[in-house]
Amino acid sequence: MVKIVRDLSDTSSYWAALWTMCTMPDVHVICDAPIGCFNLVATAVPDYTDAIPHIENVTPSVITEEEVGGTGTAPAVKRTYERLRDEGIIDDKYLIVVSTAESEMIGSDLSDLVKVLKPGTTFFHSESLTEDEWTGRDRSLQWLWENYGADKAADVEVQPGLVNIIGATYGNFNQPSDIHEVKRLIEGAGGTVNVVFPENTKLSDIADLAKAQVNVVLYQEFGHTLADTLGQPWLHAPMGIQQTTDFIRRLGDWLGTSEQAEAFIKHEKKTTLQAVWDLWRGPQSDWFATTSVGIVATGTYVDGLSNYLGQELGMQITFVAPRPRGKGDMDNSAVREILHSKPPTFVFGSINEKIYLSEGGARMTNFVPAAFPGPVVRRSVGTPFMGYHGAVVLIQEIVNRLYEALYNFLPVDGAYANQRAGKLGASGAPRSTQADPGNLPWQAEAKAILDAAVEKLPFLARISASRELQMRVETQAHDRGLGEITPDLAAEILEMQSE
């Protein structure tokens, strides 16, 4: 069956390998890549996903026509290695050679070559022509453990109370905040954070993973294979109120710190979570039932967001599209069709969804960044989606955007716009603001178009917006000397389809 890709959501396992391995400072990777695969993965994209100027511990073999045309990439990789060695760049570093789609395409298997490079050099066949980034990250983590950790870990003893966080790699949306929150939850439950792996870990310390009593896997998409291999009980990082509460209880249970975990939950309700309770008791939660939400993100975020916003707060989840796409999940073309025809009030997604909203002219829809691809800085640790803090951040974001929608429809005196346009003359206000435009008759079909336009707006903004939209159309009718509002005029001004 022919497969067409529209605006790819998930990258390849080659990217995954680099974004996993290069997080560790004592690793240096030679990527067996043309210049483009080096630039995009090491500089152009992480600049805008992780806000780092460039990934420093990766060097390309620079595949050129010569390598593609016959020599293969081994001489280029060897040359690259020798230069790194001569420059002293890989002293005290673990050297890993990683394949790319192009090196795999020309059949370059370097498992023999690495034996003649620096002792201990390894070759990671990234399977980039077959696997996506999620499988790739999962396999990279497991591979690192098998090749660098498992043997050394044989004598390591488990220490009570220690908890690992697994899955901290480049290119995961909102990761610094989510990790910060998960750490806080672990400590609140009575645990001590052992290793955040692999980011902020040295490969030389990888055996420390075996010390932990419990493992927390950040994402559903990867890390579980390593967690299974480590053999200790493990659980996923939580989103929403109930899941987070369950997470803390389970940790307390496993660590033997249930009393502390319960006290923490109680304290959190009075502190971090108090905002959710206050907004629930306030008028803000009254809008939730009429707030529609669509979500395109990793399965982790789709499940977490739809559970919290839909199940717990009672918003309408109008569609979800988890990535990577599983069987039966909507592809981007299907998402695009929804966003062109019936966009919800809120869309959590990547730049792809943002583009579809732009194409569809859905200016009343709030786009909330919630996934890659897309340039966004999320380095502050104050914007988690996970945990109790995440529950507050999300509700706060949504309510503030509803306020913004309302604000945008409050009337502002037309005289200021006229002043800017230099239209305010001695004779006073021009006609469009002078006349009371409220008295023009609307044809029934025109009124239906106005109603449909108002329907598209968040509920909170509708009272002000309906008046504002009505005036916008009537002002135009006055300016054009029309005696009544026709369906064509309403459709034109409101940018709606005339039936």
């Binding site: 790819l8 026509e65 593609v68």
Partner: protein
């Protein structure tokens, strides 16, 4: 002149070895211009990692445009489905509203597997299907990929017989700040040019019409394939560019002679423009040492202007290869104090130059700027900061010079930052 034909060549004389070549993924250059054309819906033929990265940067820097591709994984490649899947993607693209052009961008993996042009449709519905081959392993920089894409478009769309020859129409070639062509157009009209068309632009119709123009002026020095196509239509090429004091004067004079304009009028306008540029430099001369080390292929022209404005530019590096089109700027720079001009540069060469000629300002790539900033040197990403303001003629010169001046005055901030953060990084 230092030339690196392959990105890794050992150089004698204790020069740094090259490890990290500096260019965007070359293919991005083509996607950027192809995605910005109204009615153009690119289809990519490549593997998923490449597709993800290129779509990412295109959505950031190119256009708000959905990008289609054939899925090419092991299965499809083994089964020889590259052509079949690409055609399927072309058919989906053709359904976009008012689709007029479907560039098929063929990248490393598809090029290695083979994508024969004769197997693709030439046209589908109203849309021209144009194959653009930009494997990164063969095209070493993204400026040069812009040329490949433009050449492919012009070869298909250019229509020399579609109307009368427009002898007084000049084609400007180069992605420039939008205000620049307006200023150039206004000046050219004073000397008798009737129309200007800027490529690459957003209009497909422009691509047809340029084949009938009187002359073409490349504003950037890497459009050699494009110029070949213009020569095949007997459109004369005007060398140089309207940059700085002497450059603008010479350029206007060449246009006058190539397009057979009134020599007295040309001399008058060119002299006025030269006097204006000189007055700008006299009013706010630059001083200090500047590196121009981007990867846009336009670095030599910027360096030349900065030197004319009074700056010392000992070191210039770029991602493009050496070419007769860029040689005049290189010779000019070498005659005006520039010690090194590096083509196909690597990060290591730029860093080594930092020690040799400690600069007051760096205009460079992001990795190099990060290193300069770590040393407390004011530095800016050439691509984002320089290409986003007027540059040509005296008006562009004024804008660029005042921006450079302001940045150099911000030097204490760069020092303060490094002092503050040094404690953390050394610890």
């Amino acid at each position: 002149m230092t030339v690196n034909n392959t990105p890794q060549t050992d150089k004698p004389g204790g020069k740094p070895c090259q490890l990290h070549p500096q260019s965007m993924c070359p293919a991005f250059g083509s996607l950027r211009i192809l995605s910005r054309i109204e009615g153009s819906h690119p289809v990519m033929a490549t593997d998923t990692g490449c597709l993800y990265g290129l779509t990412f940067v295109t959505h950031f820097y190119g256009a708000r445009k959905s990008i289609l591709a054939a899925h090419l994984g092991t299965e499809e490649l083994m089964a020889g489905e590259v052509v079949e899947n690409t055609i399927a993607a072309i058919e989906v693209a053709a359904q976009e509203p008012d689709c007029k052009l479907i560039p098929v961008v063929s990248l490393c993996v598809a090029e290695t597997a083979g994508l024969p042009e004769e197997m693709l449709p030439k046209k589908i519905n109203d849309a021209e299907v144009v194959l653009v081959r930009v494997p990164a392993y063969a095209i070493h920089s993204h400026p040069e990929a812009k040329d490949v894409a433009l050449e492919a478009l012009l070869n298909r769309l250019g229509d020399p017989k579609g109307g009368p020859k427009e002898a007084k129409t000049l084609v400007l070639v180069g992605e420039v700040f939008p205000a620049d062509p307006l200023a150039i157009d206004a000046l050219l009209r004073r000397i008798g040019v009737e129309n200007t068309i800027t490529l690459p632009g957003r209009s497909i119709e422009d691509m047809r019409r340029v084949a009938r123009a009187g002359a073409v002026a490349p504003l950037h020095p890497f459009y050699k394939g494009t110029l070949k196509t213009f020569r095949s239509w007997n459109v004369s090429v005007v060398g140089g560019a309207p940059v700085g004091i002497s450059g603008t004067y010479a350029w206007l004079k060449s246009i006058g002679s190539v397009m057979d304009l009134d020599p007295d009028l040309v001399e008058q306008v060119a002299s006025e423009e030269r006097a204006q540029a000189q007055a700008i430099v006299d009013a706010q001369p630059l001083s200090g040492r500047i590196f121009v080390t981007g990867y846009e292929g336009t670095e030599l022209a910027y360096a030349r202007m900065l030197v004319e404005a009074g700056a010392e530019v000992p070191y210039v590096s770029t991602s493009i290869g050496p070419d007769p089109l860029v040689l005049p700027d290189e010779l000019w720079l070498k005659a005006h104090g520039t010690k090194e001009v590096i083509y196909r540069k690597s990060l290591e060469e730029d860093v080594a130059a930092l020690d040799r000629y400690p600069p007051d300002l760096v205009l460079g790539t992001t990795p190099f700027c990060a290193i300069a900033k770590e040393r407390g040197i004011p530095a800016m990403y050439f691509t984002n900061q320089l290409a986003s303001r007027p540059f040509f003629l005296s008006s562009g010169m004024a804008a660029t010079i005042s921006f450079i001046k302001q940045t150099m005055e911000r030097s204490p901030r760069y020092e303060w930052m490094v002092e503050f953060f040094e404690e953390g990084t050394n610890g």
